[in-house]
């Protein structure tokens, strides 16, 4: 019988989310005026629903695996095995981007993100990726700030990009 640790973990996660939602719902006020139900009612219903679904998923996971779910073996899905570096570089790019954007500015954060994601997809040409990322970010920056009047932080490049950002 098929049994997947990942499916069991995900099912438990859904169940846990349901319990958390229901728990928070209990702390919300139930005052509801004419309707007789307050802002806690729907959270309660949604929490209960997620708990039921978590139990249902767990039941499937423990009795032969989720019905019709893709096989755990990547080759059986027609894909390569999990490539942690690819996943990691995309994550690194996004984390770096959210850390940099506030103080280093949109252009530097965008360039870093671009280079990291390109690396995730197997690129080894750092100079090319950084220059294309920089060009794209500067173009997007000017398009949004000057043409669309959307605020984006200029950050460290304030003096070069002008005082367009915040």
């Amino acid at each position: 019988m098929r049994r997947s640790a990942a499916e069991i973990a995900l099912s438990t996660g859904v169940l846990g989310l349901g319990l958390a939602v229901a728990g928070v719902a209990m702390t919300l006020p139930s005052e509801g005026g004419y309707a007789g139900i307050g802002p806690n009612f729907f959270p309660g219903v949604v929490g209960a629903g997620i708990i039921v679904l978590g139990i249902w998923l767990s039941f499937e996971a423990l009795t032969g695996g989720w019905r019709g779910a893709p096989p755990d073996n990547a080759r059986e899905r027609g894909e390569h095995a999990f490539h942690a570096a690819g996943f990691g570089w995309v994550t690194a790019g996004l984390v770096l981007h959210m850390a940099l954007i506030g103080w280093a500015g949109f252009v530097i954060a965008g360039t870093a993100l671009f280079a990291c994601v390109a690396r995730a997809f197997g690129s080894r040409r750092i100079a090319r990726d950084v220059s294309i990322g920089l060009l794209l970010s500067v173009a997007v920056f000017f398009f949004f700030v000057r043409l669309l009047d959307v605020n984006l932080p200029a950050g460290w490049l304030q003096s070069i990009l002008g005082s367009a950002g915040i």
Binding site: F42, P43, A69, L94, M98, G110, V117
Partner: protein, 494 residues
């Protein structure tokens, strides 16, 4: 001829030079982003939403109509030339379209796709024009109880009835419903699930969820499993034209596909996947050249492409007349309306007649723009296809993060985006449908509002949902659809 007058007034709005320009911009950008491999219509619309923040509502919505159609056409181009369907609705096209391209007939395949989309889109827009006032007339009788029951119907059909697994569809829906609860309760101003985080008080933005699930999730998935790194772009040889023979074989397929696609679009039946396959099957059955199927039969491209476009227009019927999105893309469009404080539905037809009919008129215009713009520009779209994967995904993520960041200028939204990306990765890996979550996020708060209004009117008496005839009918049909297949199986087994 009320609707006719309204439509003519709508054309007056849509044909204004500035709105015409937004239409052109929308179609061009929609096609450009839609052509990118791995980017479906829902993601295209979500990524381009931030572009319209400073436009007036009419211009923005007209631009969105263009983006919606452009994205669809761009997706077909990719499917035919690259054989990597960006979405389930393009799989049927890929069957014959890519084989035609491999046989050196990419030109006729793209032409029948473009002209077929135009024909189907235009006929479907005529049907929309005729049908919308009728539905609006009917929907004006709806009270909160009827709306709530209708939304329950939509919830169940998009999540539980179709798809590989009822429980995974429902899980996706409930995740969306939960995310819809985050923020300030509209009726009592009570913050819920915000945990004191300012960015969460506004609620979860549909753009962040859609872009996170579709763009970040997809990038994580493809980087981790390298599933789409292979794939060669077929060369476009010869002109994008059809021979007399191609025309003869295409036009009946377009018309049949429109008849199949439009009704499927108007009901919450999980998007264009079913009508495109249905059209493919019908064409295969009726074709005088069944031996061509599997080797690049033009009917097999003409039918599914027309069905896809007709169904995409059909989706606008419940969206505009009832405010009910039946696909992830429609849910994002509804989010665009809400950004302007507009709630689609029968009231909008009365209060903002110019805007609604301007939008419908711009669908006619958009179809024409699509045809005149895309056939000559096809060479550019083909070149867009050959952008290497590493640069492509890097560029997509720069745009994806931009949309989230521009909401509050805060890194918290970027963190939320990444978390939704992880969710999207898991949903893709374990085959949990994404659409119900996006629909749940948008429709959940509306359903809650209607539910509480209905109870406020009935002084807390919940039987109102079962005693009002229209509401009871919706709930009965929902129950029949949800339990019917299961009951049928049990009965057969005996």
């Amino acid at each position: 001829m009320d609707a006719f007058d309204a439509l003519m007034a709508g054309f007056g709005v849509a044909m204004k030079p500035i709105n015409l320009m937004w239409g052109f911009v929308g179609v061009t950008l929609g096609t450009f982003i839609g052509v990118l491999p791995g980017v479906g219509p829902a993601l295209t619309v979500a990524m381009l939403l931030p572009l319209t923040v400073k436009l007036d509502p009419t211009g923005a919505l007209i631009m969105f109509a263009g983006i919606y159609y452009g994205a669809m056409f761009g997706g077909s181009t990719t499917t035919i030339l690259l054989n990597t369907p960006g979405e389930s609705a393009s799989i049927a096209t890929a069957l014959e379209g890519n084989r035609m391209a491999k046989a050196g007939r990419a030109g006729p395949a793209l032409a029948t796709s473009a002209i077929g989309s135009f024909v189907a889109g235009t006929i479907a827009t005529v049907l929309l024009t005729l049908l919308a006032p009728v539905v609006v007339e009917f929907a004006l009788r709806f009270g909160p109880a009827e709306y709530f029951s209708l939304m329950v119907f939509a919830f169940i059909t998009v999540s539980a009835v179709l798809g590989a697994s009822t429980v995974r569809g429902l899980t996706s829906l409930f995740l969306g419903l939960f995310l819809g609860l985050v923020g300030i309760d509209g009726q009592t101003a009570q913050p819920r699930f915000a945990f004191g985080v300012a960015e969460l008080l506004d609620g979860v933005d549909v753009v962040v969820l859609a872009v996170g699930l579709f763009a970040v999730g997809e990038a994580l998935y493809v980087a981790a499993y390298q599933s789409r790194l292979a794939g060669t772009v077929e060369h476009l040889q010869g002109p994008v034209l059809m021979s007399a023979e191609d025309w003869r074989r295409s036009w009946p397929a377009w018309l049949r596909a429109t008849a199949i696609g439009f009704p499927f679009g108007t009901i919450p039946a999980g998007g264009a996947e079913i009508p495109t396959f249905l059209s493919y099957t019908v064409e295969k059955k009726l074709s005088r050249h069944p031996e061509d199927f599997g080797r690049g039969a033009i009917e097999g491209v003409a039918g599914p492409e027309a069905a896809n476009n007709a169904s995409a227009t059909g989706v606008l019927v419940p969206l505009l007349t009832l405010g009910i999105p039946t696909s992830a893309t429609a849910a994002i469009l509804l989010g665009a309306f809400q950004n302007y404080g507009l709630q689609p539905g029968p009231q909008l037809f009365q209060a903002q007649s110019d805007l609604v009919w301007g939008l419908i008129a711009s669908l006619y215009v958009g179809n024409v723009i699509l045809l005149v713009l895309n056939l000559p520009l096809i060479g550019i779209w083909v070149r867009v296809l050959s952008i290497p994967k590493d640069l492509l995904y890097a560029g997509i993520l720069v745009f994806a993060t931009l949309g989230a960041y521009s909401l509050h200028q805060s890194w918290v939204d970027l963190l939320t985006l990444y978390l939704f990306g992880l969710l999207g990765f898991a949903m893709r890996r374990w085959d949990i449908p994404v659409g119900p979550a996006v629909i749940g996020l948008i429709l959940g708060p509306l359903a809650e509002t209607q539910f509480r209004r209905a109870l406020a009117i009935s002084q807390g008496d919940a039987s109102v949902f079962f005693t009002q005839p229209i509401s009871a009918t919706f709930l009965a049909v929902t129950a029949a659809l949800a339990l019917g297949p299961w009951a049928l199986r049990r009965w057969r087994r005996r």
